[in-house]
């Protein structure tokens, strides 16, 4: 029996954390509903890991309050730890222990009645039957990541915190991993997952974009894209790099990004953007098409603006 299953699993407000003089997380407010897959996006060093660590009690916020699974993140971290599975960015199971020994260790720490049975079940679920005596350190990147996820969900947590779980993993393993995440969310598990991959962000129910410690946008993917108010054009043609160089200097053009044989050009001031590209649209060497901005366009735009505001 679970004591409390609040609908809002993560509810924090005004979280701030500094290391020395560097403020890593600034006044962050976040709400995650139960059963959701919540994507946490942002460039390197944006404070994603720090936020996740504050949520599971590994770091104490300098200011701000909040609850995780209904427990106070400042005073009840021991209770939070019992019901949260945290998958660290770096593989953090024991490399010199076998798959089975690692899983049994986790089961014992969480006080599971029959650790051997729990480990066997986890091994079967992971598809690692027959390899259970292999040392964790000898596994490939993809298998290490699966094992780490298996260890996280073994104690049947209510919340999963996954810190860039698919970094350095091949596309097939990534897809399998996400299918597993969706299956778990279907069972009522809440998942907060940080990532750099746009395709992964698009598989989340909701996303939050954080840069330089500040939450810049959040909501369902389409809402985030829409609220950015970005207008984009796709250009095809020759010598696009020359065009890109020229466009970047023009007022109204906030984003220029090459995508294979085409170029994405965007800006929020629609009139200024159209005025800027007008001379090139008449040029027969280029084919212009109005386009829906992608999530990546929005993020690159957000990131560029956040950097501009950075003191």
């Amino acid at each position: 029996m679970r004591e409390r299953a609040p609908d809002i699993v993560i509810d924090v407000a005004g979280l701030t954390k500094s290391f020395g003089a560097r403020m890593v997380v600034k006044n962050l407010t976040l709400q995650v509903r139960r059963g959701q897959i919540y994507g946490f996006l942002g460039p390197n060093g944006s404070g994603k890991t720090t936020t996740i660590r504050m949520l599971c009690g590994l770091l104490t916020p300098d200011s701000g309050t909040g609850t995780c699974l209904g427990y106070d993140i400042r005073t009840q971290s021991q209770l939070i730890k019992r019901r949260v599975g945290y998958m660290t960015q770096r593989f953090s199971l024991y490399q010199d222990l076998s798959i089975r020994e690692n899983l049994e260790f986790v089961a014992r720490v969480f006080g599971i009645a029959d650790p051997r049975k729990a480990a066997s079940e986890a091994i079967a679920r992971l598809g690692l039957s027959g390899r259970e005596d292999q040392l964790a350190g000898e596994l490939s990147g993809g298998w290490k990541q699966r094992l780490a996820l298996g260890a996280c969900i073994l104690p049947q947590p209510d919340l999963l915190l996954l810190d860039e779980p698919t970094a350095g993993v091949d596309p097939k393993a990534r897809r399998d991993f996400w299918n597993e995440i969706h299956a778990l969310a279907g069972e009522g598990l809440t998942v907060l997952v940080s990532t750099h991959y746009m395709d992964e962000a698009e598989r989340c129910h909701e996303i939050a974009y954080i840069a330089y410690g500040e939450l810049l946008a959040h909501g369902p993917v389409e809402a985030v894209v829409r609220s950015a108010g970005l207008q984009t054009w796709r250009v095809e043609g020759e010598d696009l790099h020359v065009l890109a160089q020229a466009l970047m200097k023009l007022p109204g053009v906030e984003m220029v990004a090459p995508f294979g044989a085409s170029l994405h050009v965007g800006g929020r001031d629609h009139a200024a953007l159209e005025a800027a590209i007008a001379p090139w649209r008449a040029d027969p060497r280029y084919v212009w098409r109005a386009d829906e901005p992608s999530l990546e366009d929005v993020f690159i735009d957000l990131m560029g603006r956040a950097k501009d505001n950075f003191p």
Partner: protein, 381 residues
Amino acid sequence: MSLIPARARSSFSRFFAMLMKEFIQLRRDRVTLATMISVPLMQLFLFGYAINTTPRDLPTAVLLQENTDVGRSILAALRNTAFFDIRQVATSEAEVDSLLRAGSVLFVIEIPAGFERALRRGETPAMLVAADATDPVAAASALGALEGVVQSALSRDRVTTVAAPVQPAFEIRQHRRFNPAGASQLNIVPGLLGTILTMTMLIFTALSVTREVERGTMESLLAMPIRPLEIMLGKIAPYVAVGFLQAALIVTAGVFAFGVPVVGNLALLAALSTLFIAANLSIGYTFSTLAQNQLQAVQMAMMFFLPNILLSGFMFPFAGMPVWAQWIGECLPLTHFIRIARGVMLKGADMMDLQRDAMWLAGLMLIAMTIAVRRFRQTLD
């Protein structure tokens, strides 16, 4: 044109690149830098002043079986020398025996009943000196000094004359207790038992926390519902068994290869060895919670190990050290364990005799554990 061939020049450049990198890294590592400069100096001064192989102020008991002028003046003379520190004037054999067994005194000087009368009659009476010969070095030089001290005390009393000490008026009958042959291995083996255990136990646990931090496993361990005390006890316990096995091996080898007896109760030795092992593991674990990385932890263990060897009475007589050094020695587990090991193995000491040392060990262990649990960083802040 340079005279040095291009190949040699580029080889030198690569060597120089490596050298510069090492210097920069060394400069950034403040702890290592501090260790390199302060440790040799500190230890030179510490041990230079502390270690003295000519023992002074040896703890002594006097068993005075007659209350005479001669007895009193010998006592006064002994008090005046630097060699002996009269801790107690005893009246019964049983009393001095237990003092020796417990290691509270290293010497018992016995002036038998009728000593003065026999002296005045010119009968060359015997003074009995029992020395704790478990440390033969400490015993020998003090025994040598004793005769002169008593001789001059007696001549001052005009019992004998200084002018004519052709033949000594009395005889000193030495009794080397616990190690009649003065065999040094009897002294060394119990000491080595403690020294080897200290070294191995410290290193076992000194790396345990830093290793988890360096391998990245600490982060997920901290995110799990496990408490610092549980982590500490779980990390120490297996090594208690390892240490116990090690101790059993050393004692067995000591008995069969070196002929060191175990006069006392083997179970008592086993129990107190376990306490000593646990105390060292706790101290090693404490270093592990204080150090930033494995190298620092090893450096700390080494810095702790050296005074253990030098100030515990293992290499040099404990009684010969100045009082401040003896106090440092008292704070080291090895000091107490060496008393315990020599006491049980050579003197047949029982728990009553050793309770003080056992309590010291337990106290040091609890202090280390308290620091470790408090210092253990439960967060990554």
